[in-house]
């Protein structure tokens, strides 16, 4: 920086990079303005060691990516571990003006007219049960969709849904060990197919849940509906896919096996046990192939009554939330969220009970196994167990909502070994690669529901808190408090070197027929009332320079950002037309609108690009239909 200034003093600006020099000045200006009062607060209780454990020096990189759900914001947030710094936001189910998501034709179409979604459980693609760094899938609890984010460019590439028959897609998006399927299940049973109506009084018989696998194309990641299984009207909650000895199985918890309606808080908690549904998805695949299905809502649905041998119900403490398969695939862990124990169920015992037909009864033709014959152990973890993650030392970590703590216990001996309090009310938790066949240990993040009193007061709308816990030693230790936008449900912590994103879209890869790469090709063409503009955005102008249309014209603008350098984004903001496009280097985006308002409308670059960024502006002239002109 100093050098730039001294050179500027000497008016010695020469040759290459004079533009870069001005960028340097602008950046310097921003940095200077951004310096607020210095934080002088030291870590309490001599916690310098904790500070060091989470410190990532300027210019240094984090060890892990943390992808956490943004709940009803519709976004996925990306942070680094151990710094816990928020790095980026990936919009999925809602418009996001910062990246122009949902404003251009393509992403607008992908959103399908919905203004929001409820992102719950991010799930990274796997190969042989380990993260492969290709895609991240997330479910939409509100509008029954599943989205695929490509980790090559951290962009949402596909939104599948609303998926027929699935209602309240909470039980997703957990992947099978080779990303054959993404699990998806109904939380809110409804009469099927969707659109049909039955009285609430007939809930127990006329309403149905669905558990399903959304099929993933191994090469492209393209999602399609896959198989669906018709289930009793339970509320399917969370799931996980089996691995190793349990590969080929999928598990979902459910609450309200009472099939109750009304005040569920009371009506759905009358029985001592609800269920974990165990689905043999390889058999489900086979049943679909053999045509043992019926058509519901245009989807091939398996009815377990007609096709047995696919679904079984394992009793679990009432109102369970998560079900988590251990890294070796031998056990699945489930807990009633009002209890103080968590149960490890043995896959081996389950298979034995199934083959011995050791059933306690059935629900709508689905065999119910006996709790005692599938249970391996009960662990006294503490009050309100929800979810379990794992490390590389054979330990499991269970979040305790009511107790507001994380319990650490040993697989095999089933002993509680440690507990750490959390501020406050932990929901999900995530450990480093903690749901794969190969967890890393080291770090665990508690995704808490409340954060009061932990940060500067920001009024009634409080953020959530995410606390970083060092799990590398014998004793768990909270080492960092981070605050996150509503609302982190689940997360994936992935080793940084597993993901290799691009920074620009290579020109050679841009196959968009409307892309142009030379200012000379920029043009505006008219065909009747349709106006098509092929536009170039490059430091620091839009070409063509001026757009002139008639009121009522349908205007399509294809903007190509012909930059091929990191972070040279250009935005296209059209005043009072609610148009906000951001084009990454090497990308082409299109926007179509009807120029229904006459007048002169400035458009400008919204995304800072260069020293003359402010000058990157021009006008859209919409000539009034009646031929009126401006009065002097």
């Amino acid at each position: 920086m100093k050098r730039s200034f001294s050179n500027l003093d000497k008016a010695k600006i020469k040759w290459f990079g004079a533009g870069g020099l001005l960028v340097a000045l602008a950046t310097f200006g921003l940095v200077s303005c951004g310096q607020g009062p210095l934080q002088t607060a030291m870590p309490a209780g001599g916690d310098a060691a904790a500070a060091v454990a989470s410190y990532v020096a300027p210019g240094a990189m984090d060890e892990y990516y943390l992808f956490y759900s943004g709940g009803h914001s519709g976004n996925v947030y990306v942070a680094g571990v151990p710094s816990m710094r928020h790095i980026s936001t990936i919009p999925v189910f809602a418009q996001y003006p910062a990246t122009g998501y949902g404003f251009d034709d393509e992403t607008k179409k992908m959103l399908g007219g919905f203004g929001w979604g409820d992102v719950h459980h991010p799930s990274a693609s796997e190969t042989k049960g380990d993260y492969d760094g290709r895609w991240l899938f997330v479910n939409d609890n509100a509008n029954n969709r599943v989205a695929r984010i490509d980790l090559r460019d951290f962009k949402t590439k596909q939104i599948l849904g609303p998926i027929p028959n699935i209602s309240g897609l909470h039980g997703g998006a957990f992947v099978t060990p080779n990303t054959e399927y993404v699990l998806a299940a109904s939380r809110f049973s409804v009469p099927l197919p969707k659109g049909s109506v039955a009285a609430l009084e007939e809930y127990g018989t006329k309403y149905n849940g669905i558990v399903s696998g959304v099929a993933i194309d191994a090469k492209s990641g393209e999602m399609s509906v896959g198989w669906q299984i018709l289930m009793p009207p339970f509320n399917f909650d969370l799931g996980d896919a089996g691995k190793g000895p349990s590969e080929g199985w999928a598990f979902w918890t459910c609450y309200n096996s009472e099939r109750a309606t009304g005040k569920l808080e009371v009506t759905s908690t009358q029985k001592d046990r609800d269920y974990i549904a165990a689905v043999n998805w390889k058999e489900a695949e086979k049943a679909v192939k053999e045509g043992k299905i019926k058509d519901i809502g245009g989807v091939k649905v398996i009815d377990p009554k007609a096709t047995p041998g696919i679904v079984y119900l394992v009793p679990c403490s009432k109102s369970p939330h998560g079900v988590d398969v251990t890294p070796d695939g031998k056990y699945f862990v489930g807990s009633g969220k009002l209890q103080s124990i968590t149960t490890s169920f043995s896959v081996e015992k389950m298979l034995k009970a199934i083959s011995a037909k050791d059933f306690a009864g059935e629900e709508d033709g689905i065999p119910v196994l006996k709790y005692e014959s599938v249970k391996e152990a009960e662990v006294n973890v503490g009050l309100g167990p929800l979810h379990t993650q794992f490390d590389n030392q054979g330990f499991a970590y269970t979040s305790l909502f009511v107790e507001s703590a994380v319990a650490k216990w040993k697989l095999g001996t089933w002993e509680l070994v440690d507990k750490v309090p959390i501020a406050y009310n932990i929901g999900h938790l995530v450990s480093a690669e903690g749901d794969t066949v190969n967890p890393d240990g080291k770090y665990l993040v508690a995704l808490n529901k409340l954060s009061h009193g932990r940060h500067l007061n920001v009024g009634p709308s409080q953020p959530e808190s995410s606390q970083l816990i060092n799990i590398g030693g014998d004793k768990m230790k909270v080492i960092y408090d981070a605050f996150t936008e509503p609302e982190p449900h689940y997360s994936q912590m992935i080793k940084a070197d597993k993901i290799k994103p691009i920074e620009v879209y290579p020109q050679a890869e841009n196959k968009n027929p409307n892309a142009i790469w030379d200012i000379k090709d920029a043009k505006m063409e008219r065909s009747g009332n349709n106006v098509t503009v092929k536009m170039v955005a490059v430091r620091s102008s839009f070409e063509p320079i001026k757009l002139e249309v008639n009121q009522g014209d349908k205007v399509t603008i294809h903007i190509t950002n012909i930059e091929q350098t990191t972070d040279e984004l250009h935005g296209f903001g059209l005043n009072e037309y609610n148009i906000n496009i951001v084009v990454d280097p090497g990308e082409t985006k299109s926007v179509t609108f009807v120029a229904d308002k006459p007048g002169v409308f400035p458009y400008y670059c919204t995304n800072f690009c260069s020293a003359l960024h402010q000058e990157m502006q021009s006008y859209l002239i919409v000539k009034p239909a009646g031929g009126a002109v401006a009065k002097k």
């Binding site: 920086m1 050098r3 730039s4 050179n7 010695k12 600006i13 020469k14 040759w15 290459f16 990079g17 004079a18 533009g19 870069g20 020099l21 001005l22 960028v23 340097a24 950046t27 691009i502 920074e503 620009v504 290579p506 020109q507 490059v538 430091r539 930059e563 091929q564 350098t565 990191t566 040279e568 020293a611 003359l612």
Partner: protein
């Protein structure tokens, strides 16, 4: 010096003038057959020149706070090559920055050098092999003289291009700068950039070729029987 003195002290009894004798000596020199050593050295020189087709002639790099890894431009005998990484196309970037001072974009298609340079280098190699086969000093000197001319002209032509780029700036450019010649050799600070401009393998191959040709001449400075 000594030659000049000798010619001054030439005895007047000789019938031929010193100039004539000098020319005769030259004539005789050009008639020298090339020694085996010379011929081997010529072959070596031709081999040494092969990298000139493959490797860069010149490398330029530009470092600044915004580009801590440096923008890199590499000049080959046959192409102008900006570094291309997954996150940057350096030639495009250099042109994007230069447009602010009104400099024409550096375009490979505007350099005829990339067509005639490889042709000329190939020609030199053929002429050198011809001198080796024919074993005549005159042929060898031809190659050496042609090479020297070619080398100096190429360097001047490159410099001149840089001069033209730096002196034909668009008067309407956003940033007005004094016309200048971009640095051709060495390290220089321009604006907020530290610029490195240095020859590379192909240039060294050309220099080595010249030196070896001179060595070949030197080794046959006395007439050989072969």
């Amino acid at each position: 010096m000594s030659t000049a003195q000798e010619s001054i002290n030439l005895p007047k009894v000789e019938s031929k003038s010193w100039l004539k004798r000098f020319l005769l000596k030259e004539y005789e020199f050009f008639e020298h057959s090339l020694s085996l050593k010379s011929r081997v050295v010529i072959l070596l020189a031709v081999v040494v020149l092969i990298p000139a087709f493959l490797f860069p002639l010149w490398r330029m790099s530009f470092f600044s706070n915004q580009y801590p890894d440096g923008l890199k431009l590499t000049i080959y005998a046959y192409q102008l090559d900006g570094a291309k990484t997954s996150n940057r196309d350096d030639l495009r970037e250099i042109n994007a920055l230069n447009h602010y001072i009104g400099m024409r974009p550096l375009l490979e298609s505007e350099f005829s050098e990339f067509i005639w340079l490889p042709f000329a280098i190939g020609g030199l190699m053929i002429l050198a092999l011809r001198a080796m086969v024919l074993g005549k000093m005159s042929k060898l000197v031809d190659v050496f003289v042609l090479f020297t001319w070619f080398g100096l002209y190429s360097f001047w032509s490159f410099y001149h291009r840089m001069y033209l780029y730096g002196h034909n700036l668009d008067p309407q450019a956003a940033i007005k700068v004094e016309p200048f010649t971009p640095p051709l050799l060495g390290t220089e600070i321009v604006g907020n950039f530290t610029v490195y401009s240095y020859p590379d393998i192909a240039s060294f191959a050309l220099i080595a070729f010249g030196l070896l040709m001179f060595l070949a001449i030197w080794l046959s400075r006395k007439n050989s029987e072969v």
